[in-house]
Symmetry: C7
Subunit: 94 residues, 7 copies
């Protein structure tokens, strides 16, 4: 199991293929749409300057929307995940 | 339904077409005017360093004015929206 | 009516024409003088890290001086305005 | 009268002429000396994160020394002034 | 023994070889996967602006995942370690 | 007399000559040594976010060591001084 | 004696020679190892925003490890030292 640190959130996501010709990425349209995914784990939250911990405002199971180029891709147990900072999440899709 | 996170605000907007020739954007005038839209959802607000949550100063239904290039475009249920940080909103149009 | 957000101030201003030749801006002198305008609306003020709101130090009707290139131009009801952050205002002209 | 905002200070100054050849500034020596001027007005001071206002440490009539390229030049009632942030003032000349 | 300072964490890691041709690094694939390692030492934590010390959220023995290019490589007693800031750790692998 | 503002310190210093050929500075060695000088005046100190004033940790008469390129050169009463921020002082030479 | 200011630490260090050909530094390997040294003096510590002073977490006599390119080299009494900020120290070598 992956346990994200601080204000991080781990998301399971189906990434669109990017077509490449000779290694050059061919974006299919100039203005990329954000991507959605399902939250699989959330960190304990970030610590404020007064020592108070702020719990994340998303929870496991939430569908979330985020910028396509946010976060760090990680592989775990054969599956691909994205580790995002909570501030990179635009909205919860309900 | 889209539920924006933190100090984010979701706005419904009619975007002006940009003319392009061969993929080059042709701005119709050098000094772009800001754009207006209607607020459809607001986040819970941002958290201050002392742990206090600051409620957004716009509400659902408000007409707002913002810089044309602010925010992130999202598509939801066939419609286009713009996700803005509250600080990107210039003024409420009353 | 335009209601500026946060520490923003809306100013009515007579902008000097900029001469252009073939779209190139011809500044009439190298060191531009700041511009003056009349405050038509002020926001509720900025929120400090301790949650306290700081009221703007300019009020409706004040003549103010600001850098020529500060702020965002907005059009409302056929007139042109400038939306400034209070910190962009240099001085009140009394 | 000009009333500077926040931590700003207005200074009356005799600026040295810069020689130019074809619009190119010819600095008379590579390491420019700071400039002095007389304070004609001071703002109410800056507001700290705890809401406390810090009064400026210069007062009207003080002779002050500042970097030649600090501040914004303003013209008022036919005279030239310089609007500086207090932090741009190096020293009071007593 | 190495005792990391502040919010630093020392990690023991098996680094993948990078193939080079004439000194040029040949990345084996464009999107590098993060790396994992075992925590061997943790600092006392970072000090908040209110003087409070925040203990690290990882402990000795934890398996952690981090960006391949985070941290500083150090050699100690013939072995290679990585000194990371706690904020560079993406997740604990349980 | 020069009275430095805030966290500034005024230092009297003997600057090494820099050889120049055609206006190009010829550094006599690639890694410049820091310079020393004698403190002639100190400001009242910087103001913290809680309103508290922090007195400088150097005093008049101290010999101090600082980076050769720190600070602003000022001329006063025929002598050359350097106005430094206290944080630019590396060490007191006792 | 050198008395470092604030959060500074003075370290005595044996620097590896860098081979140069015609003044070009030839790094002996692409990924430089950090350097170690012995702490000879520590400052009083840094001042937090609440006025509290944080004592350094290294003491005179400690062996410390730091990035090869951190700090400022100073010469004192014929010997070479390095003035580091405490945050540039990676670990204490025990």
């Amino acid at each position: 199991m992956l346990k994200p640190l601080g204000d991080r959130v781990i998301v399971e996501t189906q990434e669109d293929k990017e077509e490449t010709v000779g290694g050059i990425v061919l974006a299919n349209n100039a203005k990329e749409k954000p991507q959605t995914g399902k939250v699989v784990a959330v960190g304990a939250g970030r610590v404020l300057d007064n020592g108070q911990k702020v719990a994340p405002s998303v929870k496991q199971g939430d569908s979330v929307m985020f910028d396509k180029y946010s976060g760090t891709k990680v592989e775990y147990d054969g599956a691909d995940y994205l580790v995002l900072h909570e501030k990179d999440i635009l909205a919860i899709v309900e």
